[in-house]
């Protein structure tokens, strides 16, 4: 057990140095006008183990060969600007598509709500037109959206207006609910007695 500990203490710095050498960039082995850094400043740790030193020298020599021949040193790596441009383009693509997807989903929900509102107005109008005048006036005063509509359309409010003018006697229903933006209430008009035309008179 002690031997293992001693060996670990002995070889650990060498191993660390080898790892750092293996990650060392070729260009950093040289300084301007000087020789390879590795050969100029041999580390004291490497000198502890001859085998490790030989391996380090071999590695550095390989790096040197690759560097000096020039053929393998021109590696087609991506630079930082390339990566930034690629990342920005990908993010733009994702953002654009996500925006369109969210908008399409929102549009489908709005369409469904609008269709539900149309059906609710038709339901109310159908009921009101089937009543006689007195019962209709009472029903108009107690008019409110159905429970199903209140569940589906948040903040739904229903207003009914009885109109009697040159266009005839009619009732107008207005349904509004919480929507994004300034949306006008949905309206439906039902004629109780249409105006008399010349041909009918």
């Amino acid at each position: 057990m002690m031997r293992v500990k001693q060996a670990a203490i002995h070889y650990l710095p060498v191993a660390v140095k080898l790892i750092s050498l293996s990650r060392l960039r070729v260009s950093r082995l040289f300084r301007a006008g000087e020789g390879p850094v590795f050969f100029q400043t041999p580390s004291p740790e490497l000198s502890l183990n001859p085998a490790a030193t030989r391996e380090g020298e071999k590695l550095a020599a390989t790096n040197l060969t690759n560097c000096c021949t020039g053929a393998k040193s021109r590696r087609g790596a991506a630079g930082m600007p390339d990566l930034i441009v690629g990342g920005v383009l990908t993010l733009t693509l994702i953002t654009t598509l996500a925006t369109y997807t969210a908008r399409a989903s929102r549009l489908m929900i709005d369409t469904r709500h609008a269709q539900f509102a149309v059906t609710e107005l038709a339901n109310q109008m159908d009921q009101l037109l089937a009543l006689d005048d007195d019962a209709r006036d009472e029903a108009i005063s107690n008019l409110k959206p159905s429970t199903e509509t209140i569940d589906v359309l948040h903040g739904a409010s229903l207003v009914c207006q009885s109109i009697d003018d040159a266009l005839g006697k009619r009732i107008e229903l207005r349904l509004n609910w919480n929507r994004t933006g300034k949306a006008k209430p949905m309206r439906l008009t039902g004629w109780i007695s249409p105006p008399m035309t010349d041909s009918a008179q």
């Binding site: 598509l97 996500a98 589906v152």
Partner: protein, 161 residues
């Protein structure tokens, strides 16, 4: 000597991982956005079919003498000269009108594989038709898409003095 900056293996691996993640996200979003077109077209068809069904349901009930629902999937409407039967089966509503003798007129209203409909009697003389969407979610398994109520014989009552 001119020094060139390059990336280590770890940096390259990190960049490749992030790029892979971004590309996966981009492809997923693209696939979703492409499928939305097909989904929307299907939804529009189903919605149009549902609108036609609701309109026909209203028109039939307005001129009906009687109407009864023996089950949520069945509605029988008796008119002055004919009998109309609505039947719901797996997202499709079928309307059969017996005109005269053994002649029938049949029409189907496909609502979509993930939709269902149900009839119900409402007090006093009204019938409701609800179309629900099966979401498949635990917290909200169904969602009400359409809810129509019509009064039986409302047009006949108005025409009679």
């Amino acid at each position: 000597m001119k020094t060139r900056h390059a990336f280590t293996l770890i940096e390259t691996l990190v960049v490749m991982s992030v790029s892979g993640l971004l590309m996966t996200l981009a492809i997923t979003t693209l696939e979703r956005s492409l499928s939305i077109g097909t989904q929307t077209a299907d939804r529009i068809d189903d919605a149009r079919s549902a609108i036609r069904l609701v309109d026909q349901f209203r028109d039939d009930l307005r001129i009906a003498k009687t109407a009864n629902t023996s089950a949520p999937s069945k509605l029988e409407i008796t008119l002055a000269r004919s009998v109309i039967t609505y039947e719901i089966d797996k997202g499709t509503v079928t309307r059969v009108e017996a005109i005269e003798d053994d002649k029938t007129r049949k029409e189907t209203y496909p609502l979509g594989y993930d939709r269902t409909a149900a009839f119900a009697s409402q007090v006093p003389d009204r019938i409701s038709l609800s179309i629900t969407f099966l979401t498949g979610l635990k917290h909200e398994p169904t969602r009400l898409d359409n809810f129509a109520i019509a009064t039986i014989g409302s047009r006949i009552a108005k025409e009679q003095p």
